[in-house]
Symmetry: C2
Subunit: 164 residues, 2 copies
């Protein structure tokens, strides 16, 4: 079964310095509506604890505003470098917790699944993904910054991949 009409999907691209987010709604005849997108940025000079709090508070506000039924988020485990995993992992803990405390279900996708869902092939590059996000959502420009475009790609991936 396809995603029901009226479903609100929150896509998130987790990062400690920048967490992208994007909200889409499945409208009449399956037409997608972009609600809004953005990027939660935190400064490297800010203590880690405060950065995590900023991400959590900002994302919780997005959830309160749009009441998504699901959060689609990139898997962590494909990453190789331990230092990158440490930074993203802790941010991801705060992000998943924001969903959990609002009782929103979470779906995780790896980058290859996202590429296939958007372009049909698993080795698509960043530009091809961004172009498809622009096309699918009928935007006049590619969402900026990249984190926001990646978050929208995640939401679209959920729409194409999830079983309802």
């Amino acid at each position: 079964m396809t995603v029901p009409r009226g479903t609100v999907i929150l896509g998130v691209d987790p990062g400690l310095a920048g967490t992208g987010w994007g909200v889409i709604t499945v409208g009449e005849r399956g037409i997608l509506r972009l609600e809004r997108y953005g990027c939660i940025e935190t400064k490297a000079a800010t203590p880690l604890v405060d950065r995590l709090k900023q991400i959590f508070v900002a994302l919780s506000a997005v959830i309160d505003e749009f009441s998504p039924s699901v959060m689609a988020v990139e898997e962590l485990f494909f990453m190789k470098r331990a230092t990158a995993v440490a930074a993203v992992g802790q941010a991801r803990g705060a992000i998943l917790l924001a969903a959990a405390l609002k009782n929103i279900s979470v779906s995780e996708y790896n980058p290859r699944t996202v590429k296939i869902a958007l372009t049909g092939f698993g080795s698509a590059d960043k530009q091809q993904i961004q172009h498809m996000v622009k096309a699918v959502l009928k935007l006049s420009v590619i969402p900026c910054p990249d984190h926001a475009a990646d978050a929208l790609a995640m939401a679209i991936c959920h729409l194409h991949t999830a079983k309802y």
Copy 2:
């Protein structure tokens, strides 16, 4: 300056499967009092999001009960394996957030600092650390499980290391 009398320190040993915690209070003439310790365990079969929520909720309850002024927690970055960092990192995100949302300051220590603070030398083994936790807190047995003993070691390390 030494840690002021009445200071309540929450030590935490972060882990996704088991997060140890221990609360100590600095009493009269610097005598330490063990308030309580425990371990928040989550099952591997439980979805990640729910495990993070369990850790956050349980640790928030500990904070509400004992009102610590500081959380002492092990550093993440010394870890080498990306998969271990991923699991601990996400748990750590939930743990730090629990402190941040209650406005508790966080101090981070690496394992070597903890070993030196408790035993005087940086290559001490687990048993020596646990023995010192038992001795310093005048306990009749070593706290169990290991995560709880490690959390208490973290709290004692803060007491010996922090500048006030």
